[in-house]
């Protein structure tokens, strides 16, 4: 670690790129000799202190081969210590393309990367090895020892910082100064030349396509997919962990909506009489898109038919529920990958990523993505971009397909089995269990508990307009479980007899908020008021680092006509022709946010957790597991 710091000023720009906030980066400002660098370091120091400590970022993907020949380290890899090593222009062919992609991600940083590589080239293999050791640092230590340079072997792991400082020899100090001078010189040269010699030329041409792609995907990815993956996630992994989630598309931003419309495949017309509070959410006339899209079925060559089919099913609500939608989407993507051939002069990683991106934006047009789908897409894109470049198309495709299968299997199917096992342990004989809507995991918990001859009764609470509980009710009754069915308003009537409340979730956000089918919050609230424990069952892949306090900032709007018509009650037609009147609006919310204090326990495959542990799961497990 001691070795690392003196070089720090030199690699300043990369600090910003990586986004790690370690105390030494703050300290680096003081010793930095390049103004630009100090600015960069300052920005990184300004980012939240909650970021991961260096311990958290062992290089997962770099095998020991790199250790043996550190000169071949890619400059742009996400690990900060590797960047220090900035490999000389002679990059190995397989790495060079990754370097391109990385450089493009951070468009303006090209120049600095040149300077960097110049300096880093002078490093010894030994130092590189040591620098990648995970190290914890404290701020005072950093400031004191920032001049130490080559005193590597002793400094590493040494406790008190004062002692090593005294040991610095003149020669060492001189070496540091020289290194800094060299860095300065290189930076100047780079700045003067604009895009100086061999290395800088490589990234530049690559910049455009990749950035375009990057822009493309998030803007199209709608309100529920804030972390739209770009083609090069993997290199920004560290950054992602720290950076705030991508802001969602706001549909009251007219210019953005206009842009979106131009690109849109689905022809949607804005719904009438919209609710003022929800201007920022998309709301379209229902029933208009479907026939239109069906007509287009044979014209849309861009969209793969299986994706198209899934999109239509989303649009017509044939597939609903977080898991079902996610699985349908992933299977469709699997087919897309199956039928994919890399066009000439393109690389699979980038082109397939773009293709998946366009499929995703089509799906978003059909219906905003759920968080679970967003996470699954993130996973897939990450897998695509992390494919080794020397793989043949066939291998790459089969690898991706098996990745998708693995995701479905591990994150959804096995996860729900684990949840079932956890959940069943909370069912005792004689319990009266209440559930709301039709959560698939909860249903399997009930089924399993019934299968192992637990004696319990289920209260199914349902609500308008979708009446999903009726399907659950039918399935449970067919299994022979005693059920009571009622509507949401009567929940305080039935809550007296209930001993446990099992709820599903569309997503669990990092502040513990449970984002779920609208009405879930009401049920949880009433249960809380009646002192009934609330168990929220949710797979960990639905966790998201976003936070939300209310149900208004981010939500999904359904068809307002579904409110004016009451199914099965034909004589209820008071609101027919409501759209003619300016004064009336019908609001059909799809989700709501349950405050975390209503949730007694979260049942996930990681175990049963309090809602306050969600950020822990997201940080410690979620991201690493998703990305690998």
């Amino acid at each position: 670690m001691d070795l690392r710091r003196p070089n720090r000023p030199v690699i300043g720009p990369k600090v910003r790129q990586v986004g790690f906030v370690t105390p030494d980066s703050a300290a680096a400002t003081s010793s930095s000799s390049i103004p630009a660098v100090s600015a960069a370091a300052a920005t990184s120091a300004g980012s939240p202190p909650s970021s991961l400590s260096p311990v958290m970022i062992p290089p997962p993907r770099h095998p020991s081969t790199e250790m043996s020949n550190p000169h071949f380290h890619p400059v742009g890899s996400y690990n900060p210590s590797e960047q220090i090593l900035g490999s000389p222009p002679a990059l190995s062919p397989s790495r060079s393309s990754r370097f391109d992609a990385d450089g493009s991600d951070f468009g303006g940083d090209d120049d600095e990367s040149v300077a960097l590589s110049g300096v880093g080239g002078g490093m010894t293999p030994k130092s590189s090895l040591l620098m990648r050791q995970p190290v914890t640092k404290t701020a005072p230590l950093v400031s004191e020892t920032h001049k130490r340079d080559s005193n590597v072997s002793k400094g590493k792991g040494d406790g008190p910082s004062a002692a090593p400082k005294e040991k610095l020899t003149k020669a060492e100090r001189r070496a540091t100064q020289e290194a800094q001078r060299a860095a300065k010189a290189a930076a100047k040269e780079a700045a003067a030349a604009g895009g100086a010699p061999s290395v800088s030329k490589q990234p530049k041409p690559a910049t455009k396509p990749a950035t375009q792609q990057k822009k493309d995907v998030p803007s199209g990815s709608g309100p529920l997919q804030p972390l739209a993956p770009s083609g090069s996630i993997e290199k920004k992994q560290g950054k992602k962990e720290v950076a705030a989630p991508h802001p969602r598309m706001q549909f009251d931003d007219m210019t953005k909506v206009g842009k979106l419309k131009k690109r849109a495949v689905v022809n949607q017309s804005e719904a009438r009489n919209r609710v003022e509070l929800f201007r920022h959410l998309p709301q379209y006339e229902h029933g208009t898109q479907l026939p239109d899209l069906e007509l287009k079925f044979f014209q849309l060559d861009l969209i793969h038919p299986s994706v198209y089919q899934v999109g239509l099913q989303f649009l017509s609500d044939k597939i609903s529920g977080g898991n079902a939608r996610c699985i349908a989407m992933l299977l469709a993507f699997k087919e897309v990958i199956q039928d994919y051939t890399t066009p000439p002069e393109k690389t699979l990683t980038r082109d397939l990523g773009a293709k998946v991106g366009s499929c995703v934006s089509f799906l978003i047009e059909c219906r905003p993505l759920s968080v679970s789908m967003g996470n699954a897409i993130r996973f897939l894109k990450n897998r695509i971009s992390s494919l080794p470049h020397n793989l043949s198309d066939k291998e790459a495709k089969s690898r991706l397909q098996s990745d998708i299968d693995r995701f479905i299997n591990e994150k959804i199917i096995i996860a729900s089995k684990a949840i079932v096992e956890h959940g069943v342990s909370k069912i005792r004989d004689g319990d009266v269990l209440l559930t709301y809507g039709s959560p698939s995991v909860v249903e399997s918990i009930f089924a399993y508990a019934h299968g192992i001859k637990k004696n319990f009764r289920v209260v199914v609470v349902d609500s308008r307009p979708k009446h999903e509980g009726q399907g659950l009710l039918r399935r449970l009754v067919e299994r022979g479980i005693h059920c009571t069915y009622t509507h949401l308003n009567a929940v305080s009537y039935v809550m007296h007899e209930v001993t446990r409340v099992f709820l599903g979730a569309s997503s669990v956000l990092s502040n513990g908020t449970v984002y779920s089918r609208v009405g879930t919050a009401c049920v949880a609230m009433v249960a809380h008021a009646f002192r009934v424990p609330v168990l929220v069952c949710c797979e960990a892949y639905k966790f998201h680092e976003r936070v939300q306090l209310d149900s208004i900032c981010s939500n999904e709007l359904g068809d307002p006509d579904a409110i004016s018509k009451v199914s099965g009650r034909k004589n209820l037609n008071y609101l027919d022709g409501w759209a003619q009147n300016e004064n009336i609006q019908l609001l059909n919310l799809k989700y709501d946010a349950t405050p975390s204090d209503y949730v007694s326990v979260l049942v996930t495959e990681q175990g049963m957790l309090p809602p306050t542990s969600v950020p822990v799961i997201i940080r410690e497990y979620g991201i690493e597991r998703l990305w690998t």
């Binding site: 308008r464 069915y485 949401l488 305080s492 009537y493 004064n583 009336i584 609001l587 919310l589 946010a593």
Partner: protein
């Protein structure tokens, strides 16, 4: 009496909906009962009380959940007691007023005698009504005068001088007072909505659930005073009366948003005030209200939104609730919730040893405990939940609460 059995049948079959209609018709029925009662020479008030009580018992038994019936019966009993007291007071002072007509129809009775009786009654009320410790103490030492519970004996003893005149007078004054009661029931909307401007300010966002005529008039009144505000209407499944209310509101130009009941929690954070109607207000300040209200009240409490209940005085019930969610509730047909055709196989009583696997619960009412209610607005003004018992005590005689219950249960 044909009217009575007719009305009982209607109540039993739940043909009369809404506490306002029930209250009004009960009052009208009792008025005709009073007018048809044959008055004995002695103990006339007791005779009236018995007649009314007998009918009232049947009415209450016909629909025990409709508390307005019991309220009106008790009000009428209270009226009889008061009129009896005041008339005996009048006769005591020798203010004998001869009646010209003693026909049963009350419609042509107006003017002097009755009004003066009412005035005297009001005066008597002021001395009789407050059952404070002081009045109790003052009543105690009175030598011969029994307490008001034995008002029948009172009248017997004191009105010997001119029994028939007093009897007619009593009946007429009772009928007149019942007319006033009916008027009060009809006018409660106006009295309540007059207060609307004091509670609704410009740009307010108001949430209501289901449909209540009182709420509607309340909002109309505020709109008429040129307040512009926005109303969220939760539709109130399974009756969806919110749709009707929304339609009525937009006709008056109010900006209305219909939301599903499930979105109540999502939207309550953007609401300034919750205004709802009630089915009945219990003596402890708890509210029997359409189903879903407890959920709404809890959500309002969570977000510190004022929860205001508007209700006419005929909805004030002198009883204290015990397990009101069950005892003061009514379960309706499952057909409101599910399609029988679709689920008929699940509700087969033959299978599974006689008990079907599936039950459908469709309650009508919810109980909102008093601590969730921020304010009651009745036709006498705004009241705190803790004050309701006192307000209610003004309308009813303490004797009627217990006696009625006893006789109802014994029958």
């Amino acid at each position: 009496m044909p009217d009575v059995s007719d009305f009982i049948l209607k109540l039993q079959r739940r043909r009369i909906e809404g506490s306002h209609a029930t209250a009004r018709q009960t009052a009208e029925l009792l008025r005709s009962v009073v007018s048809q009662t044959r008055m004995p020479y002695t103990n006339q008030a007791a005779a009236l009380l018995d007649a009314v009580r007998a009918v009232g018992e049947q009415l209450i038994a016909a629909n025990p959940v409709e508390l307005a019936v019991g309220n009106i019966v008790r009000r009428v009993l209270h009226i009889i007691r008061e009129e009896d007291l005041s008339s005996s007071a009048v006769s005591f002072e020798g203010l004998m007023i001869s009646e010209k007509s003693d026909d049963e129809d009350d419609a042509d009775h107006k003017g002097g005698p009755v009004l003066s009786a009412a005035a005297v009654a009001a005066a008597a009320r002021s001395t009789l009504r407050p059952r404070s410790l002081q009045t109790l103490l003052e009543d105690g030492p009175l030598p011969a005068a029994p307490s008001k519970s034995s008002s029948a004996g009172d009248s017997e003893g004191k009105s010997k001088s001119d029994k028939s005149a007093v009897g007619k007078r009593l009946k007429h004054s009772v009928i007149e007072a019942i007319n006033l009661l009916i008027e009060e029931i009809d006018d409660c909307y106006e009295d309540i909505s007059e207060q609307a401007v004091e509670h609704i300010h410009q740009n307010e966002v108001i949430l209501t659930l289901g449909r209540s005529k009182t709420v509607k008039e309340f909002l109309y009144a505020a709109k008429q005073k040129n307040r512009s505000f926005r109303v969220f209407v939760a539709e109130g499944a399974p009756r969806y009366q919110g749709h009707v209310l929304a339609k009525e509101l937009i006709q008056k130009g109010l900006e209305t948003t219909v939301i599903t009941d499930s979105a109540i929690f999502a939207m309550i954070s953007r609401v300034n005030m919750v205004i709802v109607g009630a089915h009945a207000i219990m003596a402890n300040g708890g509210v029997i209200a359409p189903v879903g209200m407890n959920m709404l009240a809890l959500a309002a409490q969570r977000h510190a939104v004022p929860f205001v209940v508007v209700a006419g005085s005929h909805k004030l019930c002198p009883l204290y609730p015990h397990n009101p969610e069950v005892l003061l509730n009514e379960l309706k047909s499952p057909s409101d919730l599910i399609d029988f055709g679709e689920f008929s196989d699940c509700m087969d009583f033959g299978a599974h040893g006689g008990a079907p696997l599936m039950h459908v619960v469709n309650p009508t009412f919810d109980y909102v405990p008093p601590n969730l209610v921020s304010l009651f607005i009745t036709d006498t003004g705004g009241h705190n939940a803790a004050h309701m018992y006192k307000l209610i005590a003004d309308y009813y005689s303490a004797d009627d609460l217990v006696i009625k219950r006893k006789s109802t249960s014994s029958n």
